[in-house]
Every structure is written in C-alpha cells, then in structure tokens.
C-alpha cells in the first residue's frame, strides 16, 4: 500500500497571470511528482497541490522566491489518512 508519510498539501494563491503560469508549469516537471488536487484556473482562486516529502522544501522555496503566497493545508498526509483508517475500523466495531 502506497504511503504518504511527510507529504504535504499546499494551498497556493496566485495574484496574477505570471504567477499562475509559474504554478501551472509545475505540472510539466514530472520529476517533482506533484499531484494537483485543485488545478490552476485563474488568479485569486485557490490551487491545492500534494507535494511528496522529498520535494516539499524545494517547492516551497520556489514559491517564496517568486513571491507566490501559500499555506500548508495538510502537514502530513499520512497522519490524516491514518486517522481516517482508524475511524473506519472503529465504525466496524
């Protein structure tokens, strides 16, 4: 079973078309393995991306360097899924 230990989900808000294009370009960088939960659409609408643990710092650095604001929506994706799993097991009991 695939695990997501340390993966983070970032909520990005872009202010203009230039920033939008920058975030959209992350989709083409396959080595980063970023999963777009909410895809880029237009400025001011949120973009949610799931970033693998090993790329969290570099993606954040890239956003900060380009003045793109973001917040960390989910600190550790696996922790949230463990919680979900626990709830399902409890419900069975």
């Amino acid at each position: 079973q695939k695990t997501f230990i340390g993966d983070q989900v970032l909520r990005i808000t872009v202010n203009n078309e230039e920033q939008l294009a920058l975030v959209s370009s992350l989709q083409e960088q396959e080595h980063l393995n970023i999963d777009f939960w909410l895809e880029p659409s237009k400025p001011l609408l949120p973009i949610d991306i799931q970033v693998p643990r090993e790329h969290v710092q570099s993606v954040k650095a890239l956003l900060e360097f380009n003045g793109v604001s973001y917040s960390t929506l989910i600190e550790d994706l696996q922790a949230l899924m463990d919680e979900e799993e626990k709830e399902m097991v409890l419900s069975h009991h």
Binding site: Q1, F4, R11, E30, P40, D48, L77, L80, E84, S91
Partner: protein, 310 residues
Amino acid sequence: KERNSQTFNYASYHTLDEIYTWMDSFVASSSGLVSKLQIGTTFENRPIYVLRFSTGGVNRPAIWINFGIHAREWISPATSLWFANKLVSEYGKDSSVSSLLNTMDLYLEIVTNPDGYSFTHTNNRMWRKTRSNHAGTSCKGVDPNRNFDANFGGPGASGNACSSTYYGPYVNSEKEVKAIVDFVTNHGNFKSFIDVHSYSQLLMFPYGYTSTKPKDYNELMELSKKSITALASVHGTKYRYGPILTTIYQSSGSSIDWAYDQGIKYAFCFELRDTGRYGFILPANQIIATAEETYVGLMEILDHVRLNPY
C-alpha cells in the same frame, strides 16, 4: 457485516464490497420502490450497478445521477448512500420526493468507478483514474471525466498516459464510461444528468470545452443560484456556480458536456464541500452534514426538472 440498510452506518466511509452488500439489503427493504440494475462491467471485471427508483410506468422521463467518477472523492459515494436512503424514507411523506417519483424515474450510480474506488481502499488512497491498461504505455488508467465524446482530446485534458487527466486512447475507451453512454442513450428519455464530485463547493453546468454559452444559459444560471442558495441554508456552506470553463477551468471530454450535447438540458456537476480544508480526506464526521446540504441542493434541481417538462 452490516445487517440491513437501517442499521448501516451512513456516517462512515465504506469499502466497495460493503457498499455492494448494502445495495442488496437496501433494495430488499425498499418495498419494491428500488431495484438494482447492472449496466456493465469494469476493466477489472467488477459489476457496475445502478439503483433505479421507480413507481411504475413505461420509459418515464428520468433523472441520472452518478457519484465519485474520480475514485479518491470518497465523500461522493458516501453522500449517495445517504441520499438513496433519504429518498426512500421521504417517499409518501415529503411532497417533493413523492411527486418526483410519481412522475419520473431516478437512476443513481452509487460508485461510478468501482476499480478505482477499490484501488483507493487497497493500494493508493489518492488514485483518481480508472485502472485500465492501454498499449504503448506502462502507466495505468484514464480520467473517465475526460473520456466522453465532448471535444474529446481537446484543451483541458492530457494526452500523457501518466497524467491524472489523461483522456485515453479513444472516445469511450473506458468501460465505465461506455456503460453510462450506452445506458443513457438506449434509455432515450433522460431529462437531467448530474455528475457529483468533490471538493471545493461548486455547482457547474456546460460548457467546459468551449466558452460558448449553452442555449439554456439563463435558465441554468438561475436554477444554479436557487440550488446553491437552498444548499447554503442548511449548514451555511457557500458554493460558486456557472459554466465549467468560467467557474474553474477549461476541460474537454466531460460527462455533462456530453449529456448536454445529447439534448439533456438539465446537466449539472457538483463539487461537494470541504469547509475544513481536508481535500479528499474529509473527516467522516462531516459525511452526514454534506449529505444533508447536498440533498437540499439536489432537490431544488429535481423539483425544477419535474415542473418544467420539455
């Protein structure tokens, strides 16, 4: 095992096997109002089921609602189970539900992408696509909501088989998509087609593949506003609404664009709630609240469909 549909825990997420077992007990306890149809099989040979709510008549005008075409959107099938149970319990008590089912048939596809859904429970919680194999690539799966015959392969879908929005090798290549297309086409009397996703709180209508407004734009805008206003009255959840392209982004090959181009005027797509910023991992304690508000929003649309035959 869940013993019957009344003791079933609607406030929890369930595996595919549990949902399929629930369907049988639900049908058995619905006093003939609900039947189960198999409309096809998946790539991995799982049955694809639809629940039919009908009070009789031949080929009555009908409503189609499918849930969770993207496997990881667990809140959608969870909402559909509650919705199905609510319809049965309200029939004969609530005038909207009774009038609706006395004049129209309703078809619910509870789990639209069974292979993908099962995969999210066993291998990868974040899986979105089908599980099909196609020649020339080692990447599996197609985005079923890019695989319909609505500007197939156009902007807003990917030709890269490894992408989560891969449109597939050809139109209706996915058995899960073809099952819907064949069923809806052969039935021939659907008046509404609703595709329920999550998350981000949107109610959308065609088009996604073009900026051209649908000919029923004004009516669909007004109805959307009415629906999301009613929905918000339950728990205060705010939705945005409008055509797919202007509300979120351009997408080709989507189900509701296909349905609208088939002549099904009331074609809508819901993106259910995530008010707590959990994405696809919406806590189970929000299932009932989501289902309650979605029911109210859906009933606004279904009432309108019933009162405006065409």
